[in-house]
Amino acid sequence: MIELVNITKIYGQKPHTVKALERITLQLKPNEMTAIMGPSGSGKTTLLNIIGCLDSPTSGEYFLDGKNTSRLDLKAKAQLRNEVFGFVFQAFNLLADKTVLENVMLPFRYSRRPRREWKQRAMTALSQMGIADLAQRYPDQLSGGQQQRVAIARALANDPKVILADEPTGNLDSTTSKEIIDVLKALAEKQGKVVVVVTHDGMVASQAHRLLQMMDGRIIDDSQIDSDSVVFSHPSV
């Protein structure tokens, strides 16, 4: 579905350049939630932005469903971004003067969907998140967990194949974090989406199917998290 080959990203002009990503090769599959961990500055967000076509690599190839995105022009890329990807952020990024429903309908303005479908589609997304009853409220009338559910509903509005979340639980307490990560995981498991979550939180990362550990612009570890194999011991009497 998503394939990165030898992706390198360099910021700045010589001689003052920073290598944000170095030869990243990676495949991401549907039905799988992948967590990305790593210290600040290790390249997590840059990688997420490149996957989401918010940023372009300096070199390397990026294939989406077998199509090489490196050759697309800006307009085609923007189109792709709106149709294929849904984004979720730490700060929720909801518009304060719009209702929940209006916030979720926002991505349709940039799509080719007929206006008469907007409301129903948005309501479907809100129902999926279990917050259809909040449609007429404003963001500041909601809890953090509810706001993040609205943001996820907005990310789902265009029925994207890929959900990209940058620290989605960074502003939430641990119980709400678990709820939100369960919601994201269900999108992978039940709806077959590709889900990628950048996080600092071990609990959040552990819920993923797969974990990428980054350091200095490289992936230093890539492993499946299989909790069935854990054996717990008790003290000897």
Partner: protein, 171 residues
Amino acid sequence: MAVKHLFLALLSQKELHGYELKNGFENLAGGRWPLNFGQVYQTLSRLERDGLIESYEVAQTDKPDKKVYRLTKAGREHLSEWLKAEDNWNLFFDELALKMLAFELIDPKEALEILRSYRSLTLRVIKSLTQMRAQKPENTTPALLLERNIYRAEADLKWVTNMIERWQKHD
């Protein structure tokens, strides 16, 4: 050690016979720490020898008499002291602590592999404990005990990630 004290705690509530103590203990431990009858009766006979509990026989028709245990005053005091005592911190609390002692004696690459697999273990542990935690009723002892273990595993995950990063810069 722990079995003895939890038997005293169970008996501080009411008089119990051996089988009830075994069940009571296993329930407290969430079914993850099974006892055999040998352990149960050995523990009880030691507690009785030390005067912390006492027993009496109850006659039963059809079945052999059953022995019922109750806490003595000395037992109640012992329990209270155990609960209040400050615990020792166990520096060598798990296998990894012992493996770390061997790190200077083995190939650094092997040590790095050990740390990596420990990191994978902490993640799997957090996942598994979080799932177990979700099935326990809020604010019950089993839930709180699991939460403590989740926090410990998260702290260990941070620590081992930091270790791996330092180790790799070293190379």
